[in-house]
Chain length 239, copies 2
DNA sequence: TCCGGCATATTTGTCTGATAACCAGACAAA
DNA sequence: TTTGTCTGGTTATCAGACAAATATGCCGGA
């Protein structure tokens, strides 16, 4: 029996249930190099004794780690650290304040690629969808209404037009991580002081480049739009 | 008590444990629109009766769905579909054959952004690391050895030099999804027929552009490198 | 009628003990 | 050497129970 001298201290936070706390601690221990890929974890019995919880809690924690791709279990043999622990999915980690720029770098890169590919394919029905969303925004702008939904539809249509489903899904994921930001573009303040109009002008540049099939211009216009949108979003936050 | 008439049939595959099968089935049911965000899932008791398994299995399945961000549970209240089910992390779905191009689109976009940012920051120690990896590849090329590790180090150094940790982590994730491809660049065949040398020439272009602080050239060189690497990797596969 | 407090049922969280399925290694037999 | 068997250990599943948090309905008072 191997002893695992460097397991974390048996002090589980009551934050969100014992199983959650134990799963966190084990994941941290693995990520921190406590056990390399393919190595065996302590048995359920050992974990029960060390952390002073029941086997049900241990099994719930292991189940979560399995779902996250950190460990794999084999009946009768034990639980083992996965070959590439935690690399079954991509997570944007902490969201500190200066971190927002970093996320927008990612968004700018992918959004530009989507626009570029859309300009290359230029399927009529895809362009029609982009243009429809653009006109919806235009109408919202002239009537002073909020056009956040049309804005979403505009970018989603470009992603579809790129012909690469991964781009749209990744942008969707990114959008979900800072959901408030696109709505900010269409706040009452932003409409009043012309920021919404500026955003719409950039949308026009993207649309024209895509319609013209100018891939380089589309990429540049999309990059510029995301960069400016980042700056505009930051102007909105007080302090 | 609500009845949920459209739950999947209670026929769990014995493939990888009952809990795994049940988790899959519930996730599918939720994704397929069986229950919208915020809606309540059947109680554990109901699931036990419907699927003919014990409560432990049901709880393991729920634990996995919690880890994946599909559901949230509240003691005494029940289990509820999360606000944005499954959007806590980004997963590259199926990896069909023509899908590889789509993944490389993502990689090209992010790799170009990393090179661009690296050229903008141009920190001396970062550039030194990039150059060191480049020279290691050069040496490997001249001696006919494999330089896959140096290749990895080269791209990782650029990601670090970008100053944006997310870029490196995302590229790492992408690389893990098609792990064989970069090794192909340094296979015996690729070294012999000059493909490795071509790759190295592109590396040189990236390095020079970063050293010169030419952001546009760095982005273009990185994009071209990924595109060519994609083509070279495909030449290697028979058929 | 409306509203706050209270008892009660429901539901998830945790614990305990048991049985079955399975694996790895040791050991004996062919 | 190979094969079969045995044994101890481990995970998977089951069953039942209690604790803790929540939802619900009832009832009295305003």
């Amino acid at each position: 029996m191997y002893h695992h001298p460097d397991l974390p201290h048996p002090h589980l936070p009551r934050s969100q249930g014992l199983g959650d706390g134990l799963a966190r601690q084990l994941a941290e221990w693995i990520s921190g190099g406590g056990a390399g890929p393919g190595e065996r974890l302590p048995t359920e019995k050992q974990l029960v004794e060390r952390f002073g919880v029941s086997r049900a809690v241990v099994r719930e924690a292991i189940a979560r780690l399995k779902a996250d791709g950190f460990v794999e279990t084999r009946q009768g043999a034990g639980a083992f650290v996965a070959a590439r622990p935690g690399q079954g999915s991509f997570k944007l980690g902490s969201m500190a304040d200066d971190d927002l720029n970093h996320v927008f770098d990612l968004r700018a890169a992918v959004e530009a690629k989507a626009a570029e590919l859309a300009a290359r394919r230029r399927l009529p029905e895809d362009i029609a969808a982009i243009r429809a969303a653009y006109q919806a925004m235009q109408q919202a702008l002239q009537s002073g209404q909020a056009g956040a939904e049309a804005d979403d539809a505009f970018h989603a249509a470009i992603a579809v037009a790129s012909g690469n489903p991964h781009l749209g899904r990744f942008l969707d994921y990114l959008a979900g991580q800072f959901s408030a930001s696109r709505a900010l573009t269409w706040s009452a303040d932003a409409i009043a002081d012309g920021r919404a109009a500026a955003s719409q002008a950039e949308h026009a540049a993207i649309l024209l480049a895509i319609e013209a099939g100018d891939t380089a211009a589309a990429a540049i216009a999309a990059t510029r739009h995301v960069e400016n949108a980042t700056r505009r979003a930051k102007e909105n936050t007080p302090c």
